[in-house]
Symmetry: C2
Subunit: 649 residues, 2 copies
Amino acid sequence: MEAVDHLAEERNRAEFDVEEMKIVWAGSRKEFEVSDRMARLVASDPVFRKDNRGILGRKELFKNTLRKVAYAWKRIIELRLSEEEASKLRFFVDEPAFTDLHWGMFVPAIKGQGTDEQQQKWLPLAYKMQIIGCYAQTELGHGSNVQGLETTATFDHETDEFVIHSPTLTSSKWWPGGLGKISTHAVVYARLVIDGKEHGVHGFIVQLRSLDDHLPLPGITVGDIGMKFGNGANNTVDNGVLRFDHVRIPREQMLQRVLQVTREGKCVESNVPRQLIYGTMVYVRQIIVADASRALSRAVCIATRYSAVRRQFGSQDGGVETQVIDYKTQQSRLFPLLASAYAFRFVGEWLKWLYTDVHACTAGLKSLTTSVTADAIEECRKLCGGHGYLFASGLPELFAVYAPAPTFEGDNIVLLLQVARFLMKTVSQLPSGKKPVGTTAYMGRAEHLLQCRCNVQKAEDWLNPSVVLEVFEARAARMSVARAQNLSKFANPEEGFAELSPVLVEAAVAHCQLIVVSKFFEKLQQDIPGKGVKQQLQVLCYIYALNILHKHLGDFIATGCISAKQASLANDLLRSLYSKVRPNAIALVDAFNYTDHFLGSILGRYDGNVYPKLYEEAWKDPLNDSVVPDGYQEYIRPLLKQQLRNARL
Amino acid sequence: MEAVDHLAEERNRAEFDVEEMKIVWAGSRKEFEVSDRMARLVASDPVFRKDNRGILGRKELFKNTLRKVAYAWKRIIELRLSEEEASKLRFFVDEPAFTDLHWGMFVPAIKGQGTDEQQQKWLPLAYKMQIIGCYAQTELGHGSNVQGLETTATFDHETDEFVIHSPTLTSSKWWPGGLGKISTHAVVYARLVIDGKEHGVHGFIVQLRSLDDHLPLPGITVGDIGMKFGNGANNTVDNGVLRFDHVRIPREQMLQRVLQVTREGKCVESNVPRQLIYGTMVYVRQIIVADASRALSRAVCIATRYSAVRRQFGSQDGGVETQVIDYKTQQSRLFPLLASAYAFRFVGEWLKWLYTDVHACTAGLKSLTTSVTADAIEECRKLCGGHGYLFASGLPELFAVYAPAPTFEGDNIVLLLQVARFLMKTVSQLPSGKKPVGTTAYMGRAEHLLQCRCNVQKAEDWLNPSVVLEVFEARAARMSVARAQNLSKFANPEEGFAELSPVLVEAAVAHCQLIVVSKFFEKLQQDIPGKGVKQQLQVLCYIYALNILHKHLGDFIATGCISAKQASLANDLLRSLYSKVRPNAIALVDAFNYTDHFLGSILGRYDGNVYPKLYEEAWKDPLNDSVVPDGYQEYIRPLLKQQLRNARL
């Protein structure tokens, strides 16, 4: 990419075919090709520059995003891009915008919950962006508990309309992205009320703003909820607040694929499977798992490259210092994250094809991957030392953008408790002889797993998929069964569940980690071409698993799955695996195929030319516009020139 | 503080004297009184408002800080505040500024490393702010490794001067706060060169800017290094870049308390103890430990109050939902952090009086407390759910301000490795019969600790300081001794140390956690007046210790210090301790005595009146200045009104 490659030596040391690994990472040659083309298209267009986001005030920042969105749309039309290409292009523009909600939530909600007629009416308008929509579910006082929403949609027999209303302050819609200043329409979730009787929470298409002058329609109060975490970050999005004062919509604007309200105000349930209600949610959580590996890989790419550039200590007498990536402490923090990026990529790929226990799986994996990723981005920032704290490193911004992921679309703890509930139910059904399927199939071998003993006697014995898998299965099964036994001691099961919830969450995590490990091993059973590619993935897979074993040692030893000695052997092996990754580290992050534009990090530059560029970038800060700063005359000069008399200092 | 107290019921449930706890937290009645008075002074003065920091562009933000600093100084003079009062006032202004470095690093460096004459010359100027100074140590290419600094100070025999020079790009001073736009002087660290021979790194007082017009002096290039993490956060500080082109200073401006250069260019070491060089560093790290408990307690205060206000789930049929603080998952995450805030407060207090092994101790505790605190602030944000992501929650800003702490003033991993080295040395000296003292005194009982067995048989048995302490001592001792044994297998000890560094870090953490636990128990042996105060602290102390035991279960069980059964009993006890804290939680954070101004969080308001204030605050965002946003005409309207013809979508 650049004339001088400061990391060329690192790249020459790689022991595998990085071009083939790019295909594995992308998912297929086709996906690689589209991604690569769209990424270059965005990176080469100056309109999409993003290095100035940190210094813009809120209004400039927001307007700048509108400009980029309009321009991206113009390019999509001009180049006649397909839906897949358009979606990739938006992804590489890498600026959170109201369009994320329009395409990612509004359109899927109508697709999933609208009848055929509703889809025919609304989708073409949305596809052409003749209307812009958002997804208005959460309220000021209500997030995770959808059934606790307060907004009402009351059927009016006379006019054949629903009256949408916000009865309290806490019922104000709060958070929906794109709502604050841009959306013309929203899918609004509200309690359906007919003749004073409640019929659960449903979605309604409500127009918010005039298509002529963009002013809010009568009865609608709408605005932005203010600044969020970070400099630019998600402040490019108009997360909004919305209140309804008896706003009327035609009956046809209730999304009624599952439940229909007739002209007479009768509720008629369709024979569409109930699970379809969760369709949007499950779909969105799949996307979130895929996004986790993208965000994680991006942070890891920055930290890995910079760790090869940065030198510190290790030389006496002014010789060249040691690259920080050669320190074992750095490797033991960085390489498990690199392994996790690949692990999450493969589990996300698998999730797309999941049919059984899809709800528990997406919930658990959403929780696991977003928590790990958010922490990992921050860990990568720390691995970059002081310079990681600069906006120019890209990591603060990546973190601020990613930070809400563990909370949005299902708080991670709430989701893990759902997984735990599913696990407890599975355990309780074991005596009946009902064989568990899907990701809990291993529970069918509970009898064996509760008593099996690990046979590892030397470090290399750990290099066996069935050994590692059995240990992970045994740990997950034993934790679930032990929790179930403790639960059974409570007279009231719900009280017991509440009381034991902190340890139930741990059992859920163990189950989810097992899924990720097993899907990684499954991936390795596929035919993977390219010199050394599969070998690298094998090393990463063992690092992923054995690092979890080390971090959660208490689980594995306390349940008797492994001995302290076996744990110590696993840790010895882990150390030797880090040495195997070391020469391939730069190539393994190159395989993500991220452009410098997308990475948005001086520390993570492809060419490793970090210091001159950091130095250059510094002078662009507005504070450097003048040598003597604004404020010197008023506030600093008087300080320096004062004559102190009556101070006690 | 407010007319209606939404948390009054919570406060009525407290089982201890919160006013007495405030004294314990503050350290003494006197300190409480000064803090309280200064906090109110700042909170009641509109000049010190800080809620608008997130929306300001860089230049406005910076100028606003200069204004506050000048005003704070004016008030300090007018009110004839003492040094202690002035320092508290600056603390409660709660805006990072160049003055932090002037008072916290420049002045202490001259005090610690300057001769008496140098102190007499420079300190009065600094105290009166007739000069403003910063501390220029780190360079673009050099952070942790001070001996690797490249800036040179070459003695010129002819003119009796030092020539300060930046020979390379990577030698540019980089990061010093206050340097970029404000400081007139700096203590610059450079390699002393006399007649071509190097004599280590020393500090030199260098004037950077003219006291007349504030322009950089000849040979000096200086500027700001650009935006950092967060909205306002540390962007109120002008962290700077500085290059010297053969800048000359008189010989007398080398700080020469330890090493003096004579007129003839001879180096003369003084008989001042060498450790004094580290005086500033140790002093600064003590401050950092104290600051950690402040930042942590602040985040915990916000999360605890909001957890009592926030309700979610738990009711059928529209009844009142459950306060989220009543969920065990919330308690198991929040209460250990509350306990840590108190634990860090007490260990920080103790650190001030430390004489033995002070270097290893401050290094280890700096590392432990800053890592835990940074993670805890982010955990508190997550505990506040979605609203924690709003700037108005105060938590994003607190995190962004705090984020550099694990890296600055000694990278935490580097510091833990220093502790590990100290521990390995201690273990290696055991056979010689030399009794370890200070915080490693317990190693003197290594023989016993390596074989002792924990006698806990029921949960309550854990409620015994000597039981808990012995388990923590045994774990720390066994981890150190095991690492030492592994080290001895390497032919080259340095290679062994590098290879085993990841697990050596774990041994260092175990040692530091033991220190915190033991200092908490020591605190409880003091006379602590006030109804129920000591009881509350006892509960928190056990929570602190037993939570660590749970999180690091692998250490405790793998080393055979406790059995799986005993660990499970400890966890049962932990659960019951959470129930004991629950009614006191709000009062325990009230005891921090933070004003709403200082907390800077709508979620953490004293009166719990969260939702109306969040709603009110939202409308202040600049995006809400107009109903139709700037950019609509150019970018949104054309989108909505377009006639699509040739698109493929």
